[in-house]
């Protein structure tokens, strides 16, 4: 049987998180040793799989081989250190009979997303160890040079080792607080793939898919956490609209202008079902559940005109109480405008001006409401302010189109 290198790589990528999680435990929290051992196992797979075929229990096979490699390496290092030639041979582990590789991925994700690690490094480490992205891929996803990303990963692994960041699922009394940090990392990975319009399309899709895989993993392991289901529902609903978000020329299409026949119905049904599961847990709704509920209102509207803006405005009012930051307050104002007219929205925006005057979307939202009221001159001023403040090319082109509309 001939097996191409990328087939081995595909298996490797799929099982990476699971095997790394088991290995980090074997190596007592040493990420570098775990990675080295996994590389050894990969090399062995490249040698033997093309000849013998992919083992039935590929993850178990790779884990066993990598564990042996880790034990071997540790022994060699000890030998070097102590200059002792005679040592008992390491115990050779057989491939386990059952298909089970102990699932330590939950521990691994809590370690990678520990609050003592800088947020960007948490994201990078999570993608590297759980997602199995190469350092080059992670670097490309964040538009930084590979050497810089490699250095960042070295620093963070050193911190884990030397500061004693534990390899455990946090105790119940801190689980909710720590889970928040994990979910933030997962959502950031998703948004990096979803919201960015720059960068490699393939890498961005991979980021969204990885974020959803992590969300699924968390929902399997922590099935009674509504926020986990809420985040997974939110990502699923957003992803279902992906095809309609950008037009043929790569320009952004606003939600109200999207061709809803391009939405992935199966994805929407899946997202709605996840949201129902979150509600069924009957716990106070957190920010991800509320955001998913907002996405669900949009998803249920067959036409933009059918959108229940009253409900969305109500949901944003709840969200504002739980999440600080300009984006949520701004979206609330926009929802109020849609539900109760542009004047009501402008009144709300006026209250936010002091905090948000350097935020381009504030001016864009204001410009849009003024445009709807036919106050074209004021609208043009606001569009110009928004354009001056935005760095994103697709957004800038969109705002310039709108500016031409109100000045023509």
């Amino acid at each position: 049987m001939v097996l191409a290198r990328d087939e081995v790589e595909a298996v490797f990528r799929r099982e990476h998180g699971l095997i790394m999680a088991a290995l980090v435990r074997t190596t007592g929290g040493d990420f570098d040793a775990a990675e080295d051992a996994l590389q050894d196992a990969f090399a062995r797979a490249l040698e033997t799989w093309p000849r013998d075929g992919v083992p039935l229990r590929a993850a178990a096979w790779l884990t066993a081989v990598a564990r042996n490699a880790a034990t071997d390496r540790a022994r060699r290092e000890r030998v070097l250190e102590k200059k002792l030639a005679a040592r008992p041979e390491p115990e050779v582990m057989a491939v386990p009979e059952s298909d089970e590789v102990e699932d330590d991925r939950l521990r691994l994700i809590f370690t990678c997303c520990h609050p003592a690690i800088e947020l960007e490094s948490r994201v990078a480490l999570t993608l590297r160890t759980l997602g199995g992205l190469t350092t080059a891929e992670v670097a490309r996803a964040f538009l930084v040079p590979e050497a810089a990303m490699a250095q960042r990963l070295v620093r963070v692994k050193k911190k884990i080792r030397e500061a004693g960041i534990p390899y455990v699922v946090p105790a119940l009394d801190v689980l909710a607080e720590r889970l928040e940090g994990v979910l933030a990392v997962v959502y950031l990975i998703f948004n990096e793939g979803y919201a960015a319009t720059a960068g490699d399309e393939h890498v961005r899709r991979e980021l969204c898919a990885e974020a959803r895989r992590l969300g699924e993993l968390l929902s399997e392991q922590l099935p009674s956490e509504p926020e986990v289901l809420g985040l997974l529902a939110l990502m699923t609903l957003h992803d279902a609209r992906r095809a309609a978000r950008v037009d043929a020329r790569g320009e952004l299409v606003l939600l109200e202008d999207q061709d809803r026949s391009l939405w992935d119905r199966a994805g929407i049904e899946l997202g709605l079902a996840l949201l129902d599961r979150a509600f069924a847990l009957r716990r106070a709704s957190g920010p991800y559940v509320i955001q998913a509920a907002i996405a669900a209102v949009h998803a249920r509207a067959a036409r933009a005109g059918d959108t229940d803006w009253e409900e969305i405005a109500g949901l944003y009012a709840e969200l504002v109480k739980r999440v600080e930051g300009p984006v949520v307050a701004l979206n609330h104002a926009v929802a109020v405008a849609m539900a109760h007219g542009p004047e009501a929205g402008l009144e709300r925006l006026a209250l936010l001006e002091e905090d948000l005057e350097s935020y381009h979307l504030f001016h864009a939202a204001r410009a849009d409401l003024l445009r709807r009221l036919g106050r074209r001159e004021e609208s043009a001023v606001a569009y110009r302010a928004a354009i001056a403040l935005t760095a994103n090319q697709a957004e800038r082109r969109f705002l310039e189109r709108r500016l031409r509309e109100v000045t023509s």
């Binding site: 030397e162 004693g164 960041i165």
Partner: protein, 115 residues
Amino acid sequence: MRYLLLIYGDEKAFAGLPAKELEGVLSDFQAYTASVKEAGAHIASQRLRPASTATSVRVRGGKKLITDGPFAETKEQLGGFYMIEAKDLDEAVAWAAKIPGARYGTIEVRPIWEM
């Protein structure tokens, strides 16, 4: 693992506390120290004199340079420390969060470089 918990805070604000409140904070510190000892996690702890009493020493080209004041002038100053034994960073952070000074200032948690 051993960790050093460094207590940073605004000395001026602390010195300006009414006597009653100051007494309260000090007795909180005593209670905290007792709880660390009781848990068997206590290695050492001290309160420091204010940063205005600090002297900084550098040796450059074999020459001793002595200056008045702390290493860096900052809004929050090092006011004391605990050295503790903890299983991992989570346990050390849990102890740090219980230090009364954490409510006013910042606790820096540093692992000891074991030789």
